[in-house]
């Protein structure tokens, strides 16, 4: 199992391909794996974005004239699955987690480097399989939730490929989660206490607990669903005596925590970015830690708020409404903490800061509609309408994707040693922010007025608002262009960043940019105060 290492060489760099080729190899370096996750995820983001554009083009007119209805169903299924399982989850956990966590705990690599590489290399094949299923009798048509009986009655091959692909991605996610838990708990540098860790470590610890506890349940459920499709059993098929609601319970037992799997790491990342660019310590570190753990515990017991219209008994409605409303408390604490971090700070208005502030605005809006949706009478009114679509895009795009971009602007100098162009970055932010709100804010109105989601055709009275939404989607598509230009230009000709362009105090900035293999030349530094801003001037001089 162990690779034999030439004692003359002091690191295993000699075993890996050099330069860009190492990004295509089975590399064990956590930084290479992090970049592999990020770039792979971004490619799938472009594919998923193209599918989203196709959806918005179709919805610009009330009739299904751009594509046939069954193709529309395939497109929306692939859009949801790709964006969740191949872009948000791998990037916000895998990419930033792999790159940053070893730095934050003062380690040279993750706890299980080989498992880490296996976890990444499960993603490209399953992603390709999912995309390829479109060309084999058509992709899955049952939405990313794959509710039976719809998923049992639609064409089988696409649905089975979808299940297989999601199972592999779930496996990748579990392997990653095990690795993060072991790294954060066990691989901390001697002398580094848990309560001294940067907040992203806590967020990833909470996320990984959710991954390990809930993803296996989805795997079991999908195995039963595949039996229903292939072997003609009746677990979820009412015709054969089965029970569709059991599927919904098991599915949402994973898929509600999945929302926190997508959003908690973003909470952690924004807690790293705001103090650096506001030059202030993170406000309320301890309350942040306890709210993350509170969200983890509550996040496991709120799943049935997705099922208020599935014949849920009254006691269950009551319990899940209250539990969901309670989640607003720890989340609210975190938001007040971020605002308090910014309050009175010496704020630099740069791309990373702008995207983080955009995140706060969008997420508060998505959070408020979330609390509204937890109330049974309101939920029954807007269930399966565009109000729900608007709500979760405010959480997942307005929240997490904004933070992914913010993090790219923040850590790009560390990863490449070059600065990104600020003007293009601000342009990117402005177009994204306007496009995003133009696209999704009107959908609240559509939902409240009764436009159902997941349909290719709709009542012509909604046409004008849908066209505004499509215009916003167009802006969002355009916003990718300045970003891509910025990245490609800056990698080649960007200004040299130096080791610590932001004067940040977290450990990853205390090594060279880009960091060497195994992270530090000597011993890992002990950072006891990752957010000690305001003190550093007196200490340095």
């Amino acid at each position: 199992m162990t690779i034999s290492i030439d004692p003359q060489k002091t690191n295993n760099e000699s075993l890996q391909p050099k330069g860009w080729l190492r990004y295509f190899s089975f590399s064990l370096d956590h930084k290479v794996i992090g970049i592999q996750y990020l770039v792979c995820g971004f490619i799938f983001y472009l594919i998923g974005g193209t599918l989203a554009s196709a959806i918005r083009i179709e919805l610009a007119s009330p009739m299904s004239d751009f594509m046939p209805r069954d193709v529309y169903n395939q497109v929306l299924t692939l859009h949801g699955t790709i964006m969740i399982f191949l872009w948000i989850v791998p990037v916000v956990n895998g990419a930033f987690g792999n790159y940053l966590i070893p730095f934050y705990v003062g380690a040279r690599d993750m706890a299980f480097p080989r498992l880490n590489a296996v976890a990444f290399w499960l993603i490209p094949p399953s992603g390709l399989m999912l995309v390829a299923s479109y060309f084999v009798e058509g992709a899955a048509q049952a939405g990313w939730t794959a509710y039976p009986p719809l998923s049992i009655t639609t064409p089988q091959s696409g649905q089975i490929i979808w299940i297989l692909s999601v199972l592999l991605l779930g496996g990748s996610s579990i392997f990653g989660g095990i690795n993060f838990i072991a790294t954060i708990i066990k691989l901390r540098r001697p002398g580094l206490k848990l309560m001294q860790l940067p907040m992203y470590c806590w967020a990833m610890l909470g996320t990984s607990l959710l991954v390990v506890l809930s993803t296996p349940v989805l795997a079991g459920t999908l195995i039963l669903l595949s039996f229903d499709i292939i072997a003609n059993t009746g677990f979820f098929n009412p015709v054969l005596g089965g029970n569709v609601v059991v599927y919904q319970h098991l599915f949402w037992f994973y898929s509600h925590p999945a929302v926190y799997i997508m959003v908690l790491p973003a909470f952690g990342l924004v807690s790293e970015i705001l103090p650096v660019h506001a030059r202030k310590p993170l406000f309320g570190y301890t309350t942040m830690v306890f709210s993350i753990m509170g969200i983890v515990v509550l996040g496991l017991v709120v799943w049935a708020h997705h099922m208020f219209t599935s014949g849920t008994p009254p006691w269950m409605r009551l319990f899940f409404t209250i539990a969901t409303a309670f989640i607003a408390v720890p989340t609210g604490i975190k938001f007040f903490n971020w605002v308090a971090t910014l309050w009175g700070g010496k704020i630099s208005i740069n791309s990373a800061m702008l995207f983080s502030c955009g995140f706060i605005i969008n997420f508060v809006f998505g959070g408020i509609t979330g609390v509204a949706l937890a109330q049974v009478p309101f939920d029954i009114h807007v269930h399966d309408t565009y109000f729900v679509v608007a709500h979760f895009h405010y959480i997942v795009y307005g929240g997490t994707v904004f933070i992914i971009f913010s993090s790219i602007y923040h850590w790009f100098p560390k990863v490449t040693g070059k600065m990104l162009n600020e003007k293009l970055g601000i342009l990117h932010f402005i177009i994204t922010f306007i496009g995003f709100n133009l696209c999704f804010a009107p959908q609240h109105w559509l939902g409240l007025n009764g436009m159902p989601r997941r349909v290719a055709e709709y009542d012509p009275q909604f046409q004008f608002v849908n066209q505004i939404s499509s215009l916003g989607a167009l802006l969002m598509a355009i916003s990718t262009i300045p970003f891509l230009i910025n990245v490609f230009l800056s990698v080649r000709n960007g200004k040299n960043a130096g080791d610590n362009p932001w004067n940040a105090l977290t450990p990853e900035w205390l090594t060279s940019s880009p960091p060497p293999v195994e992270n530090w030349e000597g011993e890992a530094p002990l950072v006891e105060e990752p957010y000690g801003y305001g003190k550093e001037i007196s200490e340095q001089k």
Binding site: M1, P7, N11, R108, A111, G177, V212, P216, G241, N243
Partner: protein, 200 residues
């Protein structure tokens, strides 16, 4: 704990820095087994819900015969004990004793699987007959898959504990400890499964 491959590796990589860290492979395995346990928990929850809310069609109430599963429970519990004996023997450097106990454990695992198959062939219902039948086969089949994998792993470490050239020694106990923990986990799941599926 035991001497570690991974710590040796790190020492080699940074000969000037000379760093070591504790063994956390067992920690990783425990985390994985918690995840695996959640899969079973999902299946059990589905089964109990079906039992509570989904009535079977008329005349489809099947009483399961108890002798074979009871024998299987005893087999697995004994195999847990024999595995423990193997570990103790290896710790005292009695490799051939350890190997004998491991082969005996694997033998018990194979007998378990044969009994399970015997039961499958003599049951009065098939996979698709009704909801209870499907859940029964899914649960016991998924557990049987775990037993199969466990048995294969026991055979591999039994081969590795051979006296000449085997990797498994009292200095390198981790493979045995890991498979032992997995085997105890599979046994524990069977006891829960036996109570829920056969006795309740």
């Amino acid at each position: 704990m035991t001497t570690l491959d991974s710590s040796k590796e790190i020492q080699k990589n940074n000969s000037e820095v000379n760093e070591t860290h504790e063994d956390f492979r067992m920690f990783g395995l425990i985390t994985f087994l918690i995840a695996d346990g959640m899969t079973f928990a999902g299946f059990f929850a589905a089964y109990l819900t079906y039992k509570a809310v989904n009535p079977l069609p008329d005349g489809a109430i099947y009483e399961l015969e108890l002798p074979i599963p009871t024998l299987n429970t005893i087999l697995l519990l004994v195999s847990s004990a024999t595995f423990h004996k193997a570990g103790k023997a290896l710790l005292k450097d009695k490799n051939s004793d350890s190997q004998k106990w491991l082969f005996f454990t694997a033998f018990l695992g194979i007998i378990f699987l044969i009994c399970q198959l015997f039961e499958y062939f003599h049951l009065p219902f098939g996979l698709t007959d009704n909801l209870f039948a499907s859940t029964f086969y899914a649960l016991t089949g998924f557990h049987g898959l775990h037993v199969t994998l466990g048995t294969l792993m026991i055979l591999i470490i039994a081969w590795q504990s051979r006296i000449n050239g085997g990797r498994l020694t009292s200095q390198n106990m981790f493979p045995l400890e890991a498979v032992e923990l997995y085997w105890h986990f599979v046994d524990g799941i069977w006891v829960v499964l036996f109570i829920i599926l056969y006795l309740l």
